[in-house]
């Protein structure tokens, strides 16, 4: 079963709260997942200054704005998709990630497997 782990950072006044984990911590975590054979895909994301939001109105009008929605309290900093037997295993990997420590948190979302007959 595939789960997406979403690494969330709290934001205060538009700034990401420092999570206190290093780049090396993430490298180590990445290697652990790959060694265990559970890693499917994943990426870190660039910071919010590079974010652009697109909305299309009912009339088809396109609005492009700089940044995320103003009221954003949490930033998605990156994600990994893992393939493990059950939720307990997914929660275990989430807990082991550097993103779960300190002020950060990890959302664990099962991937919806939808059969599309082409």
């Amino acid at each position: 079963m595939k789960y997406m782990l979403l690494f969330m950072s709290p934001m205060v006044d538009g700034e990401v709260v420092d999570k206190g984990c290093s780049f090396e911590d993430w490298i180590r975590y990445d290697r652990e997942m790959k060694d265990a054979g559970v890693w499917v895909s994943g990426h870190p994301l660039q910071d919010l200054t590079t974010c652009t939001t697109v909305q299309v109105s009912a009339g088809g009008e396109r609005t492009i704005t700089d940044g995320p929605f103003a009221e954003t309290r949490e930033l998605l900093g990156g994600y990994d998709v893992i393939d493990v037997p059950d939720l307990d295993a997914a929660l275990e990997w989430a807990a082991r990630s550097p993103g779960a420590a300190g002020p950060g948190s990890v959302q664990v979302r099962p991937i919806a497997e939808i059969d599309v007959q082409v």
Binding site: M1, P85, D88, V108
Partner: protein, 418 residues
């Protein structure tokens, strides 16, 4: 002849009460799906209701039910290929996770209920849903009975159960007993689910009755199952002990008209001595060994009350000492509130009141009626009747059950009429 029929009927009922949880657990283990298990378990029970009154109850009723239910499930999977495929995938995945089947030597079937307890009370589910699922699947209450137990409309409860089952299925909450390394982290939610069923029975959060004995007894039955399936877990002994030591006072807690009687005024001759003895034995088990857990400590406090011939001769210094330990384990303002009440008994109402006032700003006590009620009681004992009346009034705006309301009203009357 009708009598004999009725006798078979009621023994059939008794068998179902005992076997339903077992049957469901075995079916979930075999097929990996709660809905399918529920469906075929009901069909098997229906078949039993048709056959047993005429053919007699089989010598191994559990095995009969399981065989019948399995056959129905296999039929169902032959018809429903989508479900069959999904469950086949599930089984293949489950084999990747390592889990050994639990065995129960003295029964004709292995007991898979422990795994079902851990599924129903999984921390990924909302706490109220854990209690509802546990009482639904392991105590065998119908959805309507669960709704009544937690005082919500049946449609709301049905929706909540459907949603919780969907999460179990779609997020794939596993059906297995956690390994030794995970168990300490996972057992508390299981115990908490059972205890919240008990407390809802012991002190209903609202409604016409102060206590609902049947629900408390269901919780005790579940506590006994856990105690038997987890003989090495002292907190399972502590929880069962706590429930027994509190439930032992059930007959003395309410008057003939349903009015609430506080611990101080209860006729202790009406306490259930046999239940107290059993509870005390469990307290000894729960307290022996490493540092005790919160249920063991609460059970020990309950035992001190149960052992005392009256309020005055209760070992209050020991009660306070145990609350100190409990506060270290569970730093909750509700524990601090109970500790303050015990201090008031040991050192006088003034000392208790000072501790209560320290808790005044705790947001977690906002809306918690025992807090103003406890303050009111101490203020009354100090002769500060105006302040007591104000505190009784604020407790009255928060209280849930009718008997508690009636009690607070009578206390309010007493402090305002003098």
């Amino acid at each position: 002849m009708p009598d004999e029929r009725a006798a078979v009927g009621s023994s059939v009922e008794a068998v179902f009460r005992e076997e339903r949880g077992r049957l469901l657990a075995s079916l979930v283990r075999r097929f990996g799906d709660l809905d399918l298990a529920e469906e075929v378990a009901s069909e098997a029970i229906e078949a039993a209701l048709t056959h047993w009154p005429t053919d007699g109850v089989p010598s191994r009723p559990g095995a009969w039910l399981l065989t019948t239910a399995r056959r129905r499930a296999v039929d169902r999977l032959r018809r429903d290929r989508v479900l069959a495929t999904r469950l086949a995938v599930l089984r293949a995945e489950a084999e990747r996770a390592d889990h050994a089947p639990p065995a129960d030597a003295d029964r004709d079937l292995p007991d898979d209920r422990l795994a079902l307890f851990f599924t129903c009370a999984h921390p990924a589910l909302a706490a109220p849903d854990r209690a509802a699922l546990t009482v639904r699947f392991l105590a065998g209450l119908t959805t309507a009975e669960v709704a009544r137990a937690f005082l919500v409309p049946p449609a709301t409860m049905a929706q909540r159960l459907v949603r919780a089952k969907r999460k179990i299925r779609d997020a794939r909450i596993p059906f297995r007993v956690p390994g030794d390394d995970e168990l300490p982290g996972r057992l508390p939610t299981v115990l908490q689910a059972v205890y919240s069923i008990f407390t809802e029975g012991y002190a209903a959060s609202s409604g016409p009755d102060l206590q609902r004995i049947d629900l408390a007894e269901e919780a005790i039955r579940l506590g006994r199952i856990l105690r038997r399936l987890l003989p090495a877990e002292r907190e399972a002994a502590g929880l069962l002990g706590l429930m027994l030591l509190v439930h032992a006072r059930r007959d003395a807690r309410t008057g003939p008209d349903g009015a609430m009687i506080l611990l101080d005024d209860q006729d202790r001759g009406r306490w259930d001595r046999q239940m107290i003895e059993e509870g005390r034995g469990l307290v000894v088990v729960a307290l022996t060994g490493r540092a005790p857990g919160p249920y063991a400590v609460q059970a020990a406090i309950a035992a001190l009350h149960d052992e005392a011939p009256d309020v005055a001769s209760t070992d209050w210094p020991q009660v306070v000492a145990l609350y100190d330990v409990l506060l270290g384990l569970v730093p909750s303002p509700v524990v601090a509130l109970n500790r303050a009440a015990a201090v008031a008994m040991r050192d006088g109402p003034e000392a208790g009141l000072a501790l209560l006032d320290e808790l005044a700003d705790d947001p977690r006590l906002r809306g918690h009626h025992p807090y103003p009620a406890a303050r009111a009681d101490l203020l009354r004992r100090l002769g500060r009747y105006d302040e007591a009346a104000a505190a009784y009034r604020s407790a009255l705006t928060l209280v849930g059950t009718e008997p508690e309301r009636a009690y607070l009203l009578s206390q309010l009357k007493a402090v305002t009429s003098g």
